[in-house]
């Protein structure tokens, strides 16, 4: 009996060769918690605290303001147009890259990733230079009554630019891993190209697609830098939620600015929640880097 207790005492002293001491472990976990509390949780809480500074009804009232409602409507419209376009591009690009062998594939992937390393402001500038009234194409389009810059098409182009790689880079690794055998099998069984895509490929990539669409949507609704440059921020016409937040904030309408910000913050939280749920439930069908 005394032997058993003695043994228990000694085992507690033993530490696995691949672990840090409990003290070091606790210290590292503590630093992680404190660091994220200051850097991430505090700003998040600040958004809601500032929005509710004058109470819930004041916050809701500021959201019912026509400018705010117009901004929400515009942002939803932008997302509803640009996200499906981006998804269609992502699927096409992933199909082209993973189902065919061609020269310059690595270069093509680099080009698709390019928007991630370009400043959103520079992206907006590029679109203004391409389609602005001073440019060849832009001038002609304006003459036809179809302006791009300072109008909806420009905002959509800017949004597409900054979200460009999102869906494609989620799908490419997953489709490389899955190979071509299933599609080849479907084709030998007589399925048409479309049928193969809808019944074989799409079910295999749907969770990765949803993952990419989620991230793309969050960015599309929240883009600020590129949209600032191309939109002209005309109230009720081309002011999206983020640019309206800026205008309200600069007019010292703090509650109104933070109420609108809180709506976007809720969207961000929802995105993270869905994303984490996907990582837990469908890890095997996501790109390897998202599997925890």
């Amino acid at each position: 009996m005394s032997d058993a207790t003695l043994q228990k005492g000694t085992t507690a002293r033993f530490r696995s060769a691949t672990e840090e001491s409990p003290l070091a472990r606790r210290a590292l976990i503590g630093v992680a918690f404190i660091g994220l509390a200051i850097l991430v949780f505090a700003p998040l809480i600040a958004v809601f605290a500032e929005a509710l500074a004058d109470g819930v009804s004041a916050a809701l009232r500021s959201l019912a303001n026509p400018d705010a409602l117009d901004a929400i409507r515009l942002t939803l419209t932008i997302a509803a147009i640009s996200v499906p376009l981006n998804a269609a591009f992502g699927i096409a690009a992933a199909w082209f890259i993973t189902k065919f062998d061609f020269r310059g594939k690595a270069f093509l992937i680099t080009l698709i990733d390019l928007p991630f390393s370009v400043s959103p402001v520079v992206a907006g500038l590029c679109i203004v230079l391409m389609f602005g009234t001073n440019s060849l194409i832009g001038g002609w389009l304006v003459a036809q009554g179809f302006p791009i810059v300072f109008a909806m098409p420009g905002i959509i182009l800017a949004t597409l630019f900054v979200t460009f790689p999102f869906v494609a880079r989620e799908l490419i690794p997953v489709m490389i891993e899955q190979g071509r055998a299933e599609e080849e099998a479907a084709l030998t069984l007589g399925a048409s190209g479309w049928r193969t895509f809808w019944t074989v490929t799409l079910p295999n990539i749907r969770w990765a697609l949803l993952y990419g669409v989620l991230l793309c949507n969050a960015r599309a609704m929240g883009e600020f830098g590129a949209v600032s440059v191309v939109s002209g921020k005309i109230r009720g016409q081309t002011a999206t939620m983020p640019t309206t937040i800026e205008m309200l904030y600069q007019e010292y309408l703090s509650v109104a600015a933070f109420s609108l910000a809180a709506v976007l913050a809720l969207l961000a939280l929802l995105t993270l929640l869905l994303k984490t749920a996907l990582e837990i439930r469908h890890a095997d069908q996501l790109a390897a880097t998202h599997r925890h």
Binding site: A17, I29, A42, L44, V121, C126, Y249, H292
Partner: protein, 278 residues
């Protein structure tokens, strides 16, 4: 020579997928970037140099780059720590921390910008504490640093996490059986294994920070020569319809981005060559 441009394949949809890919890529990304480069070419190297070679522009470029570097360095250390803690330890709240790392990706930059300003302004929660020891954060370079740390936070942690997961226990055990202390193992075995991924994440965080606009402008104060970042200069030139100058600064920033993209690719090639797979 003999290698065909596109290999024959039984897969359907070559024309359609290639068509959509190349059309969208050209229309959305390549043509606009081309328009910027063309504008620069018309303006001429001398013109670009004249625009960029002004104290205010140099100050902004230097400020953006220097603070981005510092923020990325902070994220390098903190990101490796986060990746290690989240993969290796089991504790209450781990999932929440793991999800929270991605908040800077999901939260719109303008929202982050005004939230950080509210916190660090002299009358804000943290700004108030800092002010009591005479430390001004918002509307100084400290404020920009904090905003850039926020936007770059996920990069290193997310690139290092899968590498930590892949480390075989046996490698760490081997080090211990050879007499190495845990600290020696961490320094000489584990950190070198994480280094390539950490460097990639560092470069991504740096690239993101150099171009960042939304989260910075609210907290920066935007005082020329002191807290004015390079992207803001472009906006100012555009508001004055000074397209040539805006394009010149844009090209300077684009070149910095390309240089960093090249660096990321070189790091990856180097680490693949060196470490390979055992």
């Amino acid at each position: 020579m003999g290698r065909p441009l596109i290999h024959r394949s039984p897969m359907p949809g070559l024309g359609l997928s290639m068509g959509i890919t190349l059309t969208m890529l050209s229309l959305v990304v390549l043509l606009p970037i081309g328009a910027l480069l063309l504008k620069g070419a018309n303006y001429g190297l001398e013109g670009i140099w004249e625009t960029v070679n002004r104290e205010r522009v140099w100050a902004a470029l230097f400020l953006s780059f220097r603070l981005s570097l510092l923020a990325a360095l902070f994220n390098l250390v903190f990101g490796v720590l986060l990746a290690w803690v989240l993969v290796r330890y089991r504790f209450a709240g781990r999932r929440i921390l793991d999800a929270a790392i991605d908040l800077p990706f999901a939260l719109p930059t303008a929202v982050a910008g005004i939230a950080l300003t509210a916190l660090y302004a002299p009358n804000g929660t943290f700004g108030h504490i800092a002010a009591s020891i005479g430390w001004k954060i918002a509307y100084t370079q400290w404020g920009i640093f904090i905003a850039l740390v926020f936007v770059g936070l996920p990069f290193v942690a997310r690139t290092v996490q899968p590498v930590v997961e892949e480390i075989e226990r046996e490698v760490e055990e081997a080090s211990a059986t050879l007499g190495a202390s845990r600290l020696h193992t961490l320094r000489h075995v584990i950190l070198p294994m994480l280094a390539p991924a950490a460097l990639t994440g560092f470069a991504l965080a740096l690239a993101r920070a150099v171009g960042e606009y939304g989260s910075v402008i609210f907290i920066a104060g935007n005082i020329p020569l002191v807290t004015e970042i390079a992207p803001l200069l472009i906006i100012i030139q555009l508001e004055e319809f000074n397209y040539d100058a805006a394009a010149a600064i844009g090209i300077a920033m684009l070149l910095i981005s390309f240089a960093m993209l090249l660096a990321i690719n070189l790091i990856q090639i180097w680490s693949r060559r060196r470490i390979g797979h055992v």
